[in-house]
Symmetry: D5
Subunit: 116 residues, 10 copies
């Protein structure tokens, strides 16, 4: 996925290591096996370096998954990869909580730390 829709703005306080937590409760994609919709929630937490992600562009970026077929494990890791390459944060964690399928709920947690 190209990052074309994702905008950034300068971190207003880059000399302090503080954290930003973003909760997106309205995430949906398609199951690559059945083509049926999957629903979930995303929680993105990061310590910004030079730049922060602009929230409206993040919303449009996440809407692009709406009609894509992608597995839970892949979607969580891809969002982390895209945001890390965009922002180069000190650290970032993406958690994807997906609603029950077949009576089973899944949550995927992936973390990136700069320099590791």
């Amino acid at each position: 996925m190209s990052n074309s829709t994702l905008d950034t703005f300068p971190n207003p306080r880059p000399e302090r290591r503080y954290s930003i937590a973003i909760h997106c409760p309205e995430f949906t994609s398609l199951c690559p096996k059945t083509g049926l919709p999957d629903f979930g929630e995303l929680r993105i937490t990061y310590v910004p370096d030079a730049r922060c992600v602009e929230l409206k562009s993040l919303k449009y970026y996440l809407i692009e998954f709406r009609n894509r077929g992608i597995f839970y494990e892949a979607v969580t890791n891809q969002i982390l990869d895209d945001l890390v390459s965009l922002l180069d944060p000190h650290e970032m964690t993406v958690v994807g909580d997906f609603s029950a399928r077949g009576g089973i709920t899944t949550s995927v947690t992936a973390t990136h730390k700069k320099g590791q």
Copy 2:
């Protein structure tokens, strides 16, 4: 128990140590003493190495316990053993929360770490 019903798929991001949490609120087996049903919830958390467990096969695997007589302590440890031998994960924890019998509730937590 043979692992014949458990399928796996390749970890889409094996070079990153991320975690997958699976919640199965609909577990039932039989008490080996009385033959009466026990009900519980399972929580499986693991850091995958080369392979992940396929959720539909996990569901069928858990259904196989439906008419087996097995104690709480044994069922939790066996599921951990079966999944560890299947996936060889970096680490895995299985928690079994069993509903009240005689006014007493039991929870069993077992963890495996590779190389320990």
Copy 3:
């Protein structure tokens, strides 16, 4: 289903119209289409006339559904029919709350009133 496993005992206060509510959170049967387990909760409320249902026998009666294939609508109505024919209560309501399948939860409510 024969009522052979259901026992009763005399209502200790038949001249007063009072109600008894029974909550069975551990109900399971099989889907008649797929053979896969369904899980649910039953809530039985009744105003006893001459007899009350004995709880241990009710438990065994409900366990008999464990390996039967039966739809949500049918199971709720059958339990009401069986208990009404056993107890002839002044009134009785059975509610079956079944857990999500395909992201959809279903609840069935059926009521019987004597003389209607």
Copy 4:
């Protein structure tokens, strides 16, 4: 059971029909079949006429059930009978919520109205 331990005091506002709700979350008696302890909560609501029940004496009265064997349906109705004969209230409801036995929870609700 004699009402010897139950005390009353004059209703401070008998000309108004108001209600008093009493919640006793610490009720225990014995199962008459097995001799094992049952635990529950009692909720007593009434519209007093000339007299109100004194709470400390109510506590001692309820403690007398601690080592008695008595069924859920009977205990709820007896407490209603004892308090009605003591207070002659305009109306009174006793609800007994008993904790799970064999995975089944029971609640009994009995009501008395003066002149019915």
Copy 5:
């Protein structure tokens, strides 16, 4: 108790029958038997006629109970009496929820309707 501390203001919409609900979670008085503090919550709901109660004066009025010895049943009825004589509302309900003493919680509910 004199109503000297209770102020009122004109109902801004007297031609409409609407309701005002006031929740005072910080009520305390003394037990007239033991002198020990009782704690509780008051809920006052009324349909105003010509006048509404001013909240700051209501707060000071309720603080006057802080060091008075008074029973639950009496305090609820007195507050209703004082506010009815002050406001002459279309209707008013006062609920006093008092915290546990001896493991028993008590709630008193008293209602006034104009012309009854």
Copy 6:
């Protein structure tokens, strides 16, 4: 919208007026003004006459709204219209709870009764 995807099955107990409640927490459509996704929950309750709605076909029917632009008020009424024309139930209520937009949450409730 054609009802082609909606299947029914015979009511297993048509001589009793009982109710079926269906909760679909994963509904999404598009805003007809902005084209952005809306998310919501649907609650469908009905008293079946001759036929019940088959749940899997209901799921596919609701998925058809995924890429349609439609207002909250219209979607709730249309689902009611479609299901009433399909099932001719004794009565049916559809509630659509839509998540916040601009800090404002909306819920639409529409009811049909046969013969009214």
Copy 7:
């Protein structure tokens, strides 16, 4: 307050009496006595006749209260009056829940029915 900012749209199903519930958790105005901010939540429920209120314009209308000094009782009644004169609904209820001041919480509920 002029209704200039409030827009409407045609009720998509005027021949059915259905209800629309709107929850605005982010309401703020000023206390007319102290000039300090008050915070609250508004719940607006109505049965539309020919027209519905457009949500974005409702949001802007409510923002106009941000820097106005107005009492709880007045704000709730004025919003009801403004919306009734705008929409002429079959019925409408406005509930204002205001957060604690001096340890006291207030809720005001006002209802309009056409032809009363």
Copy 8:
């Protein structure tokens, strides 16, 4: 207190250090000062070595406290001592949560580690 009523069974997986948590919400004893009943909950967590405690015998063991006068601090420590001498676990924690007396709630937590 003799441990005569407490039974054990062999740990099914002694080579793994896993934990067992037992929740007993129905504990009652007597206050040694007043003779009045105390109510509480017990939480027992341990890492078993060679043996596990059998739950039914644990239930009977706890029932023996029903008519004993014993302080909160003493009962929590004694249960820990009895279970440690019975099971010789790698570690064990007993938490006693006792319900309010005089408006004050108490919780006692005691831990044993083998070899300390």
Copy 9:
């Protein structure tokens, strides 16, 4: 404040370092600036050495604050100081949670460790 009202009893198990947590949800004092009542909750946790605090005397000790004017920060620290000088515990933490004033809630946490 003299400690005259605070009683102690010997720690029944002084050779084990275990903890006692006491929750007092009914604390009230006066604001030293306005003279108006403040309400709060106290949580006291300690590891006893030779002696434990007797709960009834603790209740009377806390009641002495009822008509004293004292700030949140001071009351929490004073209770810690008084109890430390009384009990000389291995460690103790006092948390005071005070209810909202002017829409702002405050919690103060103070800890003492022996020998620090």
Copy 10:
């Protein structure tokens, strides 16, 4: 922003390192892009050195943001900067939780430690 409105008082127990947590659930500012109101909650936790912040002045200080346009990241960092320069605390954390915009919720956490 000048700190003119922020008052302090001497820490009553400066020789002990204890913490003060302040919760302000009623924060509002304006979005610098759209001019529309943002709503949020602030949580301020600090270990005071010589001085504590006076709560009433803190309230007035926060009200000054009511009609200012400022981003989430900036407001959280500025409040931390202002309070650190005012109090020179041992450490302080400010958390800003802002309500959903476009279905996305944001929380910003910034921490200062003396000498770092």
